[in-house]
């Protein structure tokens, strides 16, 4: 079979764009799992809330895309902070199945509410005027907006990585991921740290949601579709590993793109096949620490 470089590079680029969404979402999932020990099934719903927040801000208040990019993560982050403070905190110390069940229920409830109010047809969100048009990359014409998605998500991923690896908050978070009880006995306000971290993870999901709004339809179930792949990304990268989540997210997007070129039938299952192989060879994930 002969594959033109153009098709190959084209699918690689599209895969990279998808990979950016995986990276943003799995980064949030990974830090939440690391500190709270909760598999956040509501993550897809928070991503959906981000997209809807942008949509509603535009429809109701005329708030444009650029403001929404900041406001939606903020609003969704605050919502998540309330959820953590009043619900998730009560599950602390219980088997983490309870956290999983609670966030799963929350996701179903949120998606149900939005489906009831907005239907399941999907709503469109216009690409902002500044980002319309195509970029000529030589081998392909890439919609400018998709290039922007790559730039914006990489910038946010690198910023969050910097926050986690090079700041005081980051050292609290890394230490808290290893041993929250000990961190607390050293005088650090761990309950506050947990609340803020859940808010940060949710904010990242909402940011991805705003980025996604002009590409995919704003849809009540948009989160549950992407969440399953995101879980696979986190498992492959290693639960609780933040750098691993970013790199794996991008890499899997690209691999998914390549599969579309070489064996399109497997493109939606490739991620799960890789997950199965990684789990067999390195159960802690590619970047996880064996315990």
């Amino acid at each position: 079979m002969i594959i033109s470089t153009q098709v190959l590079l084209g699918q690689l680029t599209i895969g990279l764009v998808n990979g950016c969404f995986y990276a943003l979402l799995s980064l949030g999932l990974a830090i939440i799992f690391g500190l709270l020990n909760i598999i956040n099934f509501a993550h897809g719903a928070l991503y959906m809330l981000g997209a809807f927040a942008a949509y509603l801000a535009l429809q109701l208040f005329g708030i444009n895309y650029w403001y929404a990019l900041f406001l939606a993560p903020l609003v969704v982050g605050c919502f998540a902070i309330l959820i953590e403070r009043f619900f998730l905190r009560r599950l602390e110390g219980l088997d983490h199945l309870y956290g999983l069940l609670f966030t799963f229920g929350l996701a179903i409830a949120l998606e149900g509410i939005f489906r009831d109010r907005f239907g399941s047809a999907g709503l469109s969100y216009a690409v902002p005027a500044q980002l319309r048009g195509l970029l000529d990359l030589g081998f392909m014409r890439l919609p400018t907006y998709r290039a922007w998605v790559v730039v914006a998500s990489l910038f946010v991923c690198v910023s969050v990585w910097f926050l986690l690896e090079r700041t005081r908050y980051g050292s609290y978070l890394r230490a808290g991921t290893e041993n929250p009880r000990l961190v607390q006995s050293l005088g650090i306000n761990v309950p506050l740290l947990v609340t803020l971290t859940y808010g940060l993870g949710a904010g990242l999901a909402a940011f991805a949601g705003v980025l996604a709004a002009p590409i995919y339809q704003v849809h009540p179930l948009m989160g549950s579709n992407i969440l399953i792949v995101t879980f696979a990304v986190v498992v492959i990268g290693g639960l609780g590993s933040t750098g691993g989540a970013i790199i794996t997210g991008l890499a899997l997007g690209v691999i998914e793109g390549l599969t579309k070129v070489f064996y399109p039938e497997a493109s939606s299952t490739a991620v799960f096949i890789i997950m199965a192989i990684v789990l067999l060879i390195r159960p802690a994930g590619l970047f996880g620490q064996e315990s």
Partner: protein
Amino acid sequence: MNAHVSPPSQRPGPDTGNVVIRVRDLHAYYGESHILHGVSFDVREREVVSLLGRNGGGRTTTIRAIMGLVDRVKGSIEIKGKQTIGMKPFRIARLGLGYCPEERGIFSSLSCEENLLLPPRVSDQGMSLEQIYDIFPNLKTRRNAPGTKLSGGEQQMLAIARILRTGAKILLLDEISEGLAPTIVDSLAETITKLRSLGYTIVMIEQNFEFAAPLADRFLVMERGRVVLELDQSELAEKTELINHYLGV
């Protein structure tokens, strides 16, 4: 207070200084098992108290209960006059307590210096990084190494150093000499001596009686969740046999 009048080299001796930790009728439970059965004792300011006894006697549980790390406790623990039962551990630490756990608790994803800088300051009396590197020069040369790449002795020094930086003046040290080479144990003894001369209050759990004997002002022997013997430094010589009986040497 009289503590300020006496020169730092002089031992404060019993019955001087304020009581900074007052434990009364403390009961602690892990799941179904009842670990502490009514423990009572006082620790005074600038005093070095050693908790002795066999493993399983309840010494670590006592310290963990003081730090708020045991979920089910009954009785009373007052720190500087403040009741701390039911308080969150980070609030207890901020009363000026520094805790060095038996497993040392060095974080592997943090560098040596990040570990050192992790706990927030609880008072303005904490040591500066220079002072700490003065006492523990090894930590300076290893400052960028990941926490768990340090040797056992270095990890132990780091675990002590990081609570000295916070300004905590009451130190709870769990088995700091355990599993370390004799030369390192000697330098830890020097460190404790130096800290006592700087006016720290220290509660130390020790398996190694030889290590604790010259360092502590007072000894509490625990067995089956109770304090069964309380001795001053001056009584040590005449009661060696009794101590050996309890420690099973």
